[in-house]
Amino acid sequence: MTGSGAPDAHPFYAEAARTPDLIDWWDASFTPTVFEAGRAPARVKTLLRLRLEALHGVRYPGLGDPTVLGITPEEAAAIGGPVETLPLPESERAVLALGDEMALTNMEGYMDEELYQRLAAHYDDGAIFEIGHTMAVLCGFAKFLRVWGITGL
């Protein structure tokens, strides 16, 4: 993981203690092979994670310390603001714009041609699909954390 190595006190781990296979799926499969590896940069996916946390009012377990990937505290603090005003490169703002379409609160979420072209300027189709798939897991997991009452906040 990209984290500092400190234990994660997220209540997910206590709730899941009797299902270690599910913890393994999150910590030893999804996180290292999709969230941290894959085609799109881990920094981009971590920015996305921070925005989805802000939009959904949850904190994800075990996804590491953003500062390890060069995300400054100032960037992390600003991540919930309007995407186009964020002091980030266009390649990262385009991904966050896709994140806003994926947010569960956006019932009309849709990647239109304009957004696709913004993304395609920086990522190939495999990376765009991977980003979408990563967000699928993160958004669904956010819903689960809220429904199960373990937002981690």
Binding site: E15, A16, R18, T19, L22, L98, E101, M102, L104, T105, M107, E108, G109, Y110, M111, D112, F129, G132, H133, M135, A136, V137, L138, C139, G140, F141, K143, F144, R146, V147, W148, G149
Partner: protein, 98 residues
Amino acid sequence: MFLDVDYDLGPFSDAEKAVLALADEMVMTNHEGRLSDAQKAALLSHFSPEQAFELAMTSAVLTGMAKFLFVFDLVTREDSCPIVRPGETPTWRGKDDE
């Protein structure tokens, strides 16, 4: 918000109805979804804590993948689908909207 059917009247066991109640909380159209103590107790009366937790995590992936399929336009939208593209109006109205 919900389909115009009542699974309580359907051919489902109490265990299955408890799982369907979980699904109603997890569905993406239910922005206030939260499993109540009574709903959790109903689940745990039929499933072990491990099974109930697994069901919830499974529904997490299903819910997230559904959102992904809609945003990437990888799924056919049925007339009954309340999730529309920007600017479109749902043609379907659930019983809660009447």
